[in-house]
């Protein structure tokens, strides 16, 4: 009798082993990225958390590596409340702005754009992301400046009155768009919009046409279909997008420095504390706030049933 199976090479033995024990292959493949995620990603976050429980020696400026809540007590001073509250409000406004502006675009792209128009859509969304962030922000500063194109256009079309009325709004107005909260809001919406559109588009694309037809068939108007079918099914995408825009706005420290009235934001505070002030523990404590806010935000979203359609 001769052997039916050919002689096995080392590679054959290995593939046989993996075929018999599929989990072994999975473990081999997944371990390096898991190590990266565990050690580098979450590990550094843990180190950050730890730093926030240290304190700084006021005379020597050295970090005292002992557990204390002193830094958090320092964080909860009234002037820091302002920074946190301002950042939170701006993040919420930017998220809302991105959602309102992004939804129709995402809806069009998901439902109607085909072939070439789909490519144009992706290019239009992604192209601004490819250029330097700093260049974009400085370009916006020029656009929004008192001598910029918007002021010029308003004068040329005799609509300066409208612009001035907007700028004289209490709290969010200012000398010019580039030195007001309105200007900062516009720049934030511009830079983070793609992060809102792409997840929304992905979730809208998963809503089958027959579901919209079923809604109309059962007597729903377009507005009712939008409210009771499209929006709930797109909600996971909206939430995913809002996580991006919200957390990106909360952590940003460049836009508030370049555009706006130089009021302090969380990102700026962290930047100053770890740089010029050298107060790493307080910087770390500040950095924990966005994480906590995001966790609360996700918890509320889950309670409201945002992930039921997943």
């Amino acid at each position: 009798m001769t052997a039916i199976l050919p002689a096995k090479s080392v590679a054959d033995r290995l593939t046989t082993l993996f075929w018999r024990k599929p989990k072994l292959l999975l473990i081999l493949l997944i371990t390096p990225p898991l190590l990266w995620l565990g050690v580098v990603y979450l590990g550094s976050l843990a180190a950050l958390l730890m730093q926030s429980f240290y304190s700084i020696d006021e005379f020597s400026g050295m970090v005292i590596p002992e557990f204390t809540l002193k830094t958090y007590a320092e964080l909860l001073r009234p002037q820091n409340y302002d920074v946190i509250f301002r950042t939170l409000l701006m993040s919420a406004a930017v998220t809302l702005g991105c959602a309102i502006l992004g939804f129709p675009i995402a809806y069009y792209a998901a439902r109607f754009a085909r072939g070439r128009w789909k490519a144009v859509f992706y290019l239009g969304i992604m192209l601004p992301l490819w250029s330097s962030y700093l260049v974009k922000v400085y370009a916006w500063k020029l656009i929004l400046a008192k001598e910029g194109i918007i002021t010029w256009a308003a004068e040329a079309t005799h609509t300066s009155g409208i612009l001035n009325a907007i700028l004289s709004l209490p709290g969010i107005g200012g000398g010019s768009l580039s030195t007001s909260y309105i200007g900062m809001f516009l720049v934030f919406v511009y830079v983070w919009l793609p992060y809102m559109i792409l997840p929304m588009q992905a979730s809208l694309e998963r809503v089958p046409t027959s579901m919209l037809e079923a809604s109309a068939d059962l007597g729903a108007t377009r507005a009712q279909t939008f409210r009771t079918v499209i929006l709930p099914l797109a909600l996971p995408g909206v939430i995913a997008g809002s996580i991006f825009t919200f957390s990106l706005t909360m952590g940003d420290y460049i836009i508030p420095q370049i555009v706006g009235n130089s009021a302090n934001f969380i990102g700026m505070a962290v930047y100053q504390l770890q740089g010029t002030a050298g107060n790493i523990p307080l910087a770390a404590a500040f950095a924990v706030i966005p994480i906590l806010i995001m966790l609360v935000y996700l918890w509320i979203a889950k309670r409201m049933g945002a992930f039921d359609a997943l």
Binding site: M211, L218, P232, A309
Partner: protein, 332 residues
Amino acid sequence: MSIAVEFRAVSRHFGPASAPVRAVDAVDLTIAEGAFFAMLGPSGSGKTTCLRLISGFESPTAGEICIFGENVSNTPPHLRNVNTVFQDYALFPHMNVRDNVAYGLMVKGMPRSQRYAKAEEMLALVHLDAYGSRKPAQLSGGQRQRVALARALVNEPRVLLLDEPLGALDLKLREAMQDELKSLQQRLGITFVFVTHDQHEALSMADSLAVFNEGKIAQIGTPAEIYNHPKSRFVADFVGSSNVLPPALTKQLGGPEKWASLRPESLRLDATGPLRGTVTAIRYLGAGHRITLTTHGTDIAAILPAGHPLPETGSTIALGFDATALHIMDQA
């Protein structure tokens, strides 16, 4: 009896006007009130487009569609008193079964307690009383099908449209649902319009059916009429896979020189029979055998009931039939 649905020279073309795809091409059709009407045809024959024209998801390129005498050609779907059971059921995944069924009542503004009571009533009708709080994802295919049915029926439509509703079910479940749909239709007295590509389903359930081919109605009539007296080769071939005999062969068998159809089950082994040929295949069907015979270049299928002695593949045999079984067709 009044007319539930009427098509007057209805066409639906897709694509450019210069070279249109005629999905539905000048179709005239009347469906009587209370009928169980089937639209049968291969895929791409226009049957589903016809259904979508009734529901309002397509609007006619030409012609008029009337539902109970009212011209609805320009009426949007949500204002038509018809409801659809979709092929993929299209249940709302974020709502539980009760809310799915009550959806049509909800958008019309019926108070919650009232619409839930009606929804439960409908769920009982389709034997899903205890499933109101479940999500569609927790149901089996057959249960989803029933929810889709209840969701459509709760609106008390005058016409219920069913788009291949049993296509996704396995054989046993499909047969059970066929019986159930039929009895439901008889109890409620609602006009059912049913799209299918399965001729057995159409023949066994409908009391009247239209066979579609390339955007036109090839034949319309009762199942028995269509099965026994197909008008064209297409109908004979598509409905019940009949043997289609070319004119020359018909003549040889004693008929006029026209296309004819001959049902496989009307043939029997008969040494003196006129159909002589070589057996090329024998297939076991359970209740009998299907043998294929080649004669004068034409393949003829015959179904022999179990218990008969079987010829061997390659042998020459003769088949006989009653003269009445040979059906002469008017059209080619």
